[in-house]
Symmetry: C2
Subunit: 562 residues, 2 copies
């Protein structure tokens, strides 16, 4: 398919990231040039049973891959880079542009998928300008809960389009990092910006987010007063947090041992790129932990979201190879549970406390700060950039809505703000903006190693299975003779307790027998598909009438007609 | 006196505003050119009894008035403009540069003091540049609790010196004002700033101040649900607040009556300058109030700080000519008491409630927002301006200290930050900064119409009088004959209750009689001054020994020796 835009219009659309948190992927197209920003995954919500990730529908981009000039990455979080291997499998040879840390993380992914050698990676510095025929791309430093984050400004013949990436305005970043480049943002604003696409995650929070440095002070205070062993769990990618935890450990005479593959990798990346300054002498091998007194050790690990296979869960459950909880251990969760993870985090905290550990967690202790700016920071971005048009991104609908209201308070006329859905195309000139149709942008599910072989019907089935159970109908039929040789037998799982429902099952059997017999009697050439559908429909209706449930019905016809 | 600076150094000093909130007055001198920023008063704290205002010591500026190129005003609050008439009385003919609202307020003052015709007033727009020989001055929009606020950038041959004035970063100002000019600040930062002088008032508050618009929402909600008459009290100069109160009134079908001279003047100024958009039809004359139902009226008045002569106090006390409290009246305090006024505001609230009114007040109701930025905004200013050197201004010592720490967190080296006192001179070149002596910068008291005729000793006396009371000693002496003809009699006020202290008084009389007699006996030519001092010293010592108090002792010698 082609976009329904005019020759001189710039098209802007998302195939992920609108109406949802995650799976960010945005495209800017002018004539025969497409620039893509980010290619993330979304972690499935509970109702997507058995799905590992959700990625975007790359169909439009695959059809127009000859136009794609590059994939530009704002930062190295999974919801911005996790889709890259799947994208490259579908749309090969797209050059990638990313900052140093994001590059390191992406390379790890490409290697896993055997794509490292075939992919051209370009490491970005903030001052770089990447120029194509009609489009050119420049960058401005932002701050977020991972180092090395960039906002992206795409210069088009119709004006500048800015995608902020995820950001907060951390004005006192950890480790004397330079912080957000206010001057460059203001200069873009002064020169004029056509469209701003801005992170909406914390649009419901009316304040200015706390600096990461503020969390550091709290970590220091907490570590200082603990006598026993400390297990510190946080997001591996938040090297600022990791750095502050390690500093607190060292300053209190503790050496650090690292657990969990992503945390180990993060430490390697962080030290290599200069975000972590940890002398070799301060890092312990796991085997050395028990040689030191409890108050000389900090264990740094992944699993703060309650992930069952991560180091912390295994430690809590007593299934970790090297570490088990001792009395007087203190576990610090320097994180907030992502909404979908609240239950598993609570389980984990219970397990740790039952095993004898003290657990410190929660906002109240100031041991976490969001990586996303609140309303004051969203307003600050709007006021610095002063866009003519505004589209909130990276947020659920209610967040996009509030963010749009903030934009209006900051001087963007209401008719110049656009709450769009994934796939909606915004067509822009320097003086106009209009909706110009839609590109495919449905969710694509990744299950194990399969991409996109799971339809949304499968997901619905899994949901029904989990909620209503399964009924299997087995019958052996001699089509030639028009006879039911055995069955129909009924098996069920998760539907009703069979032994106590003999009556219901008997009636159901009779019901299906009747359905089959009718088919066999009336039609010489019985179409098995039609028969199966009839069994499903009739049984579903019968069971719903009797139980008000909709189990998944699976008919199996064993035919003697070979 | 002259400054102890080198030919090529720029001198920066305050003669008010450092170590205190109020009385702002800053000077920048390069060779034979002086630019002054603000000329405020400070309202006396409780211990300055009977003092109306405190102003700065203008001595240095008076001695160098031929060098003064202009007085530049950041905004129209008393602590930035209140000293102008006194300054001009001492240093005539200094041209004044101020924004439109500050100009209107200053003109009112000049008229009162008969200085209007002799003073050259220049009305500033943000885009103006005022150029002298070596110095030039430009401006950037800020936001504060009064419209029309400017930060001031003074270009010197050694670099740019910025004085922020009072500010918050209100990113959604009332009435679609454009808000702080982030782009201009960032541009100054990009081009390079030598020294930043920045408002420290809220350095102890770790957040980003709420937008004035946020208060407006609360006012609307409150006004909407009130049935009776509303009396709305706030600072007259906060035209944003006034505007929002009037809007809420009109939208709820209420007409507005204005009470208090400064509020009346504010409404005139605000309408003239376009900050208030109130149709004539919505304004009531005081005499018409009682003709309308209670729910059709809002009274807008001064006195939210409990000032005894302001409209609200007189209404509360039943001494107002036109208005008395009715049952079902609601009084809204849209303000916080300035620390020194807490007690009088509490008295006022009690009086209003005793008279039958409901009173809504306090931060908890979100009906006030500070006009000064918290730490996040101070950091934002530091990050936008990126100064080489930093001096916190407008704050007590502890605020200046915190602000200096924030500057260090924002990348200013510790040795480049200066916590100075009033009068301390900072001598700057583009590569150096050093302390270069001191100019006079003591407090000068204004009592009634007298300026500077009250010494700090007088204030100490007033303080002792208020705390320890007064003892008067009267004796009639015939110096010739060396006789005490009558007395010494002792009167006291505020010291001890005389009738119950006969013994103490008797002993004191004997003590003084002995002191006088010793003088008369030992010295032919009795020096009355010496005698009086002896009386004071001896009596003070005696009384302190007996009562542990230090009353003010006033000896009166009536001499028959003519």
């Amino acid at each position: 398919m082609d976009l329904k835009i005019k020759e001189d219009e710039v098209a802007v659309f998302a195939i992920g990231g609108l109406g949802e948190i995650g799976k960010n992927m945005y495209a800017i197209q002018y004539q025969d040039e497409i620039v893509i920003v980010d290619a993330g995954i979304k972690f499935p919500e509970d109702e997507l049973l058995g799905i590992d990730y959700v990625i975007s529908d790359y169909q439009y981009l695959a059809e127009h891959q000859n136009k794609i000039k590059g994939l530009f990455i704002t930062h190295g979080h999974e919801d911005h880079i996790g889709g890259i291997p799947y994208f490259l499998q579908k749309v090969p040879n797209v050059p990638i542009y990313a900052g140093p840390l994001a590059t390191a993380l992406i390379k790890g992914k490409l290697e896993e998928h055997g794509l490292l050698e075939s992919t051209k990676m370009n490491v970005l510095q903030e001052s770089d300008v990447v120029t194509f025929n009609n489009l050119s791309v420049e960058f401005f430093r932002t701050t977020h809960s991972i180092p090395d984050t960039l906002g992206i400004a795409i210069h088009t013949p119709q004006g500048v389009i800015i995608q902020t990436g995820d950001y907060k305005f951390d004005l006192t970043p950890v480790g004397n990092q330079p912080g957000p480049n206010l001057q460059k943002m203001a200069k873009l604003g002064t020169d004029g910006v056509l469209l701003l696409l801005s992170d909406s995650t914390n649009a419901e929070i009316p304040t200015f987010s706390k600096s990461e440095r503020f969390v550091g002070n709290t970590i220091h205070q907490i570590v200082e007063r603990i006598d026993g062993r400390i297990i510190f769990a946080t997001f591996a990618s938040n090297l600022y947090r990791v750095s502050q935890a390690v500093d607190a450990a060292i300053q209190n005479g503790r050496k650090v041992a690292v657990f969990g593959r992503s945390m180990e990798q993060a430490i390697v990346n962080g030290r290599e790129l200069g975000y972590l300054d940890i002398p070799d002498s301060e890092i312990l091998d796991a085997s050395e932990i028990n040689k030191l007194p409890a108050n000389k050790v900090m264990l740094l690990c992944t699993g703060s979201q309650g992930e069952p296979m991560a180091a912390l869960s295994r430690i809590a459950n007593g299934t970790h190879r090297q570490i088990s909880i001792q009395p007087d251990d203190t576990v610090i969760f320097s994180s907030n549970p992502i909404p979908g993870n609240t239950v598993s985090v609570n389980h984990l905290i219970n397990a740790l406390e039952e095993a004898g550990a003290n657990v410190i967690h929660g906002k109240v202790n100031n041991i976490h700060a969001s990586g996303h700016g609140g309303q004051e920071e969203q307003k600050l971005m709007l006021r610095l950039i002063k866009p003519k048009y505004f589209m909130p991104i990276h947020g659920e609908y209610r967040m996009l809505k509030i963010h749009t209201e903030l934009a209006q308070l900051c001087g963007v006329p209401k008719e110049n703000t656009f709450i769009y859905e994934n796939g909606d195309v915004l067509a822009l000139t320097q003086n106009s903006a209009r909706k110009a149709g839609h590109v495919p942008a449905g969710d694509v599910y990744v299950d194990g190693n399969g991409i996109g072989d799971i339809s949304s019907e499968v997901i619905e089935d899994r949901q029904m299975l989990s909620e209503e159970g399964l009924v299997i109908v087995v019958a052996t039929i001699d089509y030639k003779k028009g006879l039911v040789l055995s069955g129909p037998d009924i098996l069920s799982r998760g539907f009703v307790y069979m032994r106590e429902s003999g009556n219901l099952i008997n009636q159901a059997q009779k019901h299906i027998f009747h359905t089959i017999k009718t088919h066999l009697d009336n039609d010489d050439a019985v179409a098995e598909d039609v028969l199966k559908q009839d069994i499903v429909d009739n049984l579903q209706e019968f069971l719903y009438r009797r139980t008000e449930r909709h189990p998944v019905i699976l008919p199996m016809i064993i035919s003697t007609q070979v």
